[in-house]
Symmetry: C2
Subunit: 392 residues, 2 copies
């Protein structure tokens, strides 16, 4: 009774009814690595758990809290592990539907680190705040009346952070006086409570040079300090300063201004973060790649091969996936369901299985309903990406 | 009882239990366009149906069959419309899980236009062939023994096409003698029947210049003719020549060598095909863009805006989405959940809704569980992307 037997019906395999191996899931618990149907997203559980522990230890040493970013995995199951064994106080989400999925899955402390401007979504956030701690965010005073109405009509007080633009120039109000003005408006709005500052420098995460990355975070820290001074002048306490990602985390943690680290990718890592780590020699070395895309070679010609992993199973916007352990081989592009491999030494042949490291973990995980949890060559469990596609 | 009322429970809204507006679906049937929660994938039903009819008429005029490619929509519902009102004889799929979803949804004629090399997937194909007409494909004689075993053990005769490399240099055997050799091997294998040739020139689809595109297809037609001659010399009838995509279809249809057109994108079109169409002045003009990503501006600063559609709802590998109807505005990039918009004339403000045209429709649709079917400003129905994520 293994995943390799194609003629067993789902209910014969001990899986919940309606989940069919091959059609729905790449493998069953107990299967060997070779029995995983491809293309499949696979996490090495030992490596992932080592990443969890490494981040917990480093945050404890730095005296900062971890609020892990669930957008990387979109899985309540992994969020609960980040809390249970990874030292996290709760999670961040980017979307209210993602936060709803986390709360349904048992998470009790969620910060939606994104602007919400639709009154219907505000009502959903207010409803969610009746079941869990929910922090929301804004960068514009014009949305406060709708937020207030949502909080009041659901009989909750919503914790609201103010986002400052600390260098990425995406969302966020200017640091200093403008941010303090907005915080004062939040504090004065019925139904809302000022929760602190969000200061995430997304653009800094993938800067290759560690010194440049450090300099970007130092400038962001100055922006936060300027804002903290302006808040203090108004007598407004700032209970939290959130931000940081896997790429820059060590600098925010050491700065003394951030209180909550929002790293997500540290759990899995990816080819782009490996390039960041490689560029600086050491740095991100605390975190190992734990996430792989298992693929199979389906066509072979001299000098090249094609595998069954294309852009419907791996996100391409940060470059193609990297192939592991095949000398000379390189993924040079993907179409919908094909990965095109340069194989100058003709190491690959039809039917061979390859491990690919996705270019960017967050959008890649979002393409999968399940992550296969592998430990020492054996499928231990299937991890459900319950918030996959939940961007509403 | 509209989508705008956030406090109704799902079962109060007449939707199937477990589907919650906002959390699961962007809108309910009957909602107005403004009531659709964003980011949402929306199809203009009038435009889509006009595309369906235009393709049906043109194929009829050219005397070729249409076997629409379901990888574009991954929705059995739309596949059935392609068959019912769009003149298709059946569909193509790229993956066996996609084909299984199509057959479960009622489609009875499926060609899996991709190499399958895993015996478990072969067994699934053979099982599927007991319920529907299933055509499979190969480019390597070494897989035939496994295919034969799968067919025999499931007591079916599998129709198998031979893929030739007609210029894309991805999968496919060389045209002419090597292809005819493989076809003869297929024909001689117990449990298999030679179904014809697959000659899809994927790389030609997006060539900007119409004359160059035509030349690429003429070269592909020569490759097919060479192979047909070699088959004839062996006395092997070739019941089908499949290929063509939306970009090059007119040339394959006119060639006299292809018998089945495998267009998919014509249903929706996208920003990249619009660029192909624009580059040649006329050409693809028979098909209008019917697919939009509805998004909302969530943050605004002078000269720029941010909307709530990022790379988790629109595929970026063919360039960022195009924004419609906002003078001067341009999407210059996306992060996970943000679209970054250059807005030099400051036409946009927080809360404004924008329509984006995805860069590439196939992988974008794969990011969504539902497509909102809109007709003249009103949600007519929700179209389920039942095979979303089914790449196994």
């Amino acid at each position: 009774m293994t995943a390799a037997d194609p003629d067993l019906l789902p209910y014969e395999m001990g899986l919940e009814p309606g989940l069919e191996p091959g059609f729905d899931v790449p493998a069953l618990p107990g299967a060997s690595e070779d029995e995983i149907e491809t293309p499949a997203l696979v996490v090495d559980l030992d490596a992932m758990e080592a990443n969890l522990r490494a981040m917990a230890e480093r945050n404890a040493a730095a005296g900062v809290k971890l609020r892990a970013h669930a957008k990387s995995h979109r899985s309540p199951e992994l969020a609960l592990e980040q809390i249970r064994i990874g030292g996290a106080i709760g999670v961040c989400c980017q979307k209210i539907a993602e936060a709803e999925a986390m709360v349904r899955g048992g998470v009790r402390d969620v910060f939606v680190t994104n602007e919400i401007v639709d009154p219907r979504k505000m009502a959903r956030a207010a409803r969610l705040a009746r079941q869990a701690r929910v922090i929301v965010m804004c960068d514009d005073a014009r949305v406060l009346a709708d937020w207030s109405a949502a909080a009041i009509s659901h009989d909750v007080t919503l914790e609201m952070a103010v986002e400052i633009d600390c260098g990425t120039h995406l969302c966020g109000v200017d640091p200093g006086e403008p941010a303090a003005d907005l915080a004062a408006r939040v504090a004065a709005t019925p139904g809302l409570r000022f929760a602190g500052l969000q200061a995430y420098h997304g653009a800094a995460q993938h800067i290759r040079d560690a010194d440049e990355r450090r300099a970007a975070i130092e400038a962001a820290a100055d922006a936060v300090r300027l804002t903290l001074t302006a808040l203090e002048a108004r007598g407004l306490p700032c209970p939290m300063v959130g931000g940081a990602g896997t790429g820059s985390w060590e600098f925010e943690a050491a700065s003394g201004v951030w209180t909550e680290m929002q790293c997500g990718s540290y759990l899995f890592m990816d080819a782009d973060y490996q390039r960041v780590a490689a560029a600086e020699g050491q740095g991100l070395g605390a975190f190992a790649n734990s996430l792989f895309l298992m693929a199979t070679v389906i066509s072979k010609r001299p000098g090249r091969a094609v595998c069954d992993a294309g852009l419907k199973v791996t996100s391409l916007e940060s470059g193609p996936p990297r192939i592991e352990g095949v000398p000379g081989a390189r993924v040079i592009g993907c179409s919908d369901e094909h990965g095109r491999i340069e194989d100058p030494e003709d190491r690959l042949d039809v039917g061979d299985r390859v491990r690919l490291i996705p270019g960017h973990c967050d959008p890649t995980v979002n393409l999968h309903a399940w992550i296969v949890g592998l430990r020492r060559g054996r499928v231990e469990r299937l991890i459900r990406v319950a918030a996959r596609g939940r961007s509403l």
